[in-house]
Symmetry: C2
Subunit: 418 residues, 2 copies
């Protein structure tokens, strides 16, 4: 019988993040009674499975009105960059004032595929590197590992100036920083949110340092207040920004539909000019051919029903997540032992707690078995060993009573073990 | 404004196959009246868009009977390797006598993603190469380019012995042949089908040369007769075969659901043993997180309704494609000028015609504009410049009258231009 040697397989099968996440899932499986402040998945209370066929029917009706053969549109191979790109363009204009041609949008098999496509295209040589705000969402580091690209961290607290510093340092050692990845609105895990002057500074630095910006925006709707926070892409007059869009939180994850906006111009040696989105379609076609038209129909139905405003359609969800984040922060206030600190994010699904303990897998095991609460070690979100004394708490999947009880259990762990 | 230099982007955006396919689509768009013997997509006459919601409802009923929360199953993030793996295991056992544990199956975003995942895992170093029967399906060469793996062609007509020869030659120059890719049943474009002794020889050679076999099987149902053609995976006693499955032709392409069977054992340095499918899930999670549960629900519904036999459920389609292939072959017989030759495939969607003309993009343009017929240059399916005087004809998307008229037009082109 064949026995394959693990060390001869590509490094991405041994991705430390995947290993960590598997451990987390495995612990969660062994302690089903534990309250999970680890799970970053959305709350299911807003979902109805019957909505799926209703959304599909809405989209089918839309096709019929336009004289499109629904069999061809939903069941055949489709356009590589997708078929709801025009609906997404209307969404971006309505909700965020981002005005782009539908042709600059590629619909992807979730936002994760969008990351892989963009990284694959931009990083061609061994010296090409990606800068990423750190701590960093694990999906982008995993995608980078898959295509063999080095990720160079920029400490999140250094902001735009940190980007300039790291870009120069990377260039000084002969490498080529191609792009910066960040989540400007309520980052995962850091909870960071850039203020408006900082957004402008970042765009200026991208221009000065000849960087593209990969703006990932899964949580943008979920601010604690109604303050306007313009997307980098909405402020982007120089086409420095590639916008990465997700419907996982604003619609639901199971559709696995995301998108990218790549309106940059590509010039070839003979002077030919194309749209970056069109170049990316060559990669998309070799990754997944095209995004399932069935899934696109579901999201298309949501967009049609919402009249292209997910901000309006998500009023109840927005309020729910606000209350949950407030519940998390006030439970921390109420229950944490003196001296423990945490950040106070302006939105999103996460908060980060500094603890006087090594917050590693061993402590997590104890936390699950003896205290009945799960969380995520912050070390999972760093590449260089940082984060050993902090942990991420998520408040998206639970109700307020569970959040409070989870924090109470965590406080007991910290109180007894510090 | 940003201008990106095309030559600084990854080579996969300039994939010659993607460029060729774009040209083909562009020509087809300019001559909509031309009969397309180029399109390899399935016939749409068997589809009904209303089937989609019906299949979803069947799957939802199945979940309900099992007490599974349908919101969680269809709308939330799901298991990385999919949730209809057990249904697929029953399909494989029923239709093909392939008996594997459901855990060895990973559901993918179409078979294309399965190819990318497997190639990414198996080819880790610069010396790792993929052998592929040539002429070769463009999806695998495109996937290989994406992950930076060299593809070494094995002439299809040399069969298993050719595999042994090329594997040794590749090793002699210090490279490491990790796997062989082929379509044993009615290859695209060659139309080749391995007889039973050749299948056994191939498995023996894989064992002797320490190769894995990537068995891609999109057309297996569509033989010209009911003769049994056991899958390599069904004959595989040594776990040499990774089976790549597609529902694009047996169900419909728009679901974008495929799968892989990877029941091999992986051993790590400390003696730990895992299943290859589990290792591959780490890659899958960084590519597309998980395959859309909505799409999986559709295919799940098809499998449930068919009682796990797509062979039985596809009787009408099988008959249709048989008649189409027979119509193609008899039209060639009737209309082609003397001296023109073609192969006589035992099934599938394609035939290959040798022509006394350079069958390039220039001829294709003339064929479309002056003769009203489209085909695919065989050179698209070779990496080394072969195939200059042959073309692929597809018979899957048309009815019999269109096929005959298409061949008549092609015969006129050849007659007048040879």
């Amino acid at each position: 019988m064949v026995e394959l040697i693990k060390e001869a397989l590509h490094v991405s099968v041994s991705d430390p993040v995947a290993t960590s996440m598997n451990f987390l899932n495995e612990v969660a499986g062994r302690y089903p009674e534990a309250i999970s402040l680890a799970a970053g998945r959305p709350y299911e209370g807003f979902y109805e499975a019957t909505d799926i066929t209703r959304y599909i029917d809405i989209y089918l009706e839309y096709l019929r009105e336009r004289g499109v053969d629904p069999r061809r549109a939903l069941m055949q191979y489709g356009r590589t960059n997708g078929q709801i790109h025009d609906l997404i363009a209307r969404l971006l204009a309505t909700d965020d004032g981002i005005v782009v041609a539908p042709e600059a949008i590629a619909v992807t098999a979730g936002c994760q595929e969008a990351m892989v496509i963009v990284l694959r295209a931009l990083c061609a040589g061994p010296g090409d590197v990606l800068l990423a705000m750190s701590p960093c969402y694990v999906g982008i580091t995993g995608a980078a590992r898959l295509v063999g690209i080095e990720v160079v961290p920029v400490p999140e607290h250094e902001g735009a100036q940190g980007v300039a510093r790291v870009a120069r340092e990377v260039r000084a050692i002969g490498k080529n920083p191609r792009a910066l990845y960040l989540v400007p609105d309520f980052s995962n895990p850091g909870g960071d949110c850039l203020d408006l002057p900082e957004r402008h500074r970042l765009l200026e630095i991208a221009q000065a340092e000849d960087l593209l910006i990969l703006e990932d925006d899964p949580y943008g709707l979920f601010g604690l207040d109604d303050r306007e926070r313009p997307k980098l892409k909405a402020l982007d007059t120089q086409q420095r920004v590639i916008y990465l869009g997700s419907f996982a939180k604003s619609c639901f994850p199971g559709a696995r539909v995301g998108f990218l906006v790549a309106d940059q111009t590509v010039v070839d040696a003979s002077g030919g000019r194309t749209l970056l989105a069109d170049e990316l379609s060559n990669i998309k076609s070799m990754l997944t051919v095209n995004t399932s038209p069935v899934s696109q129909a579901v999201i298309g139905g949501v967009l049609l029903e919402s009249k292209f405003s997910l901000r309006a359609a998500n009023k109840a969800k927005i309020e729910f997540y606000r209350q949950n984040l407030r519940a998390l922060l006030s439970a921390l206030q109420e229950h944490m032992p003196a001296g423990i600190t945490w950040n106070t994010p302006a939105g999103g699904f996460f908060a980060v707690v500094q603890v006087p303990l090594v917050a590693d897998e061993k402590l997590l095991e104890i936390s699950a078995s003896e205290y009945g609460v799960l969380w995520t070690p912050m070390s999972f979100f760093y590449t260089g060993g940082e984060g050993s004394h902090s942990l991420r708490l998520s408040c998206s999947y639970l109700d307020q009573a569970q959040i409070e009880e989870g924090v109470r259990r965590l406080a007991r762990l910290i109180g007894e073990r510090q």
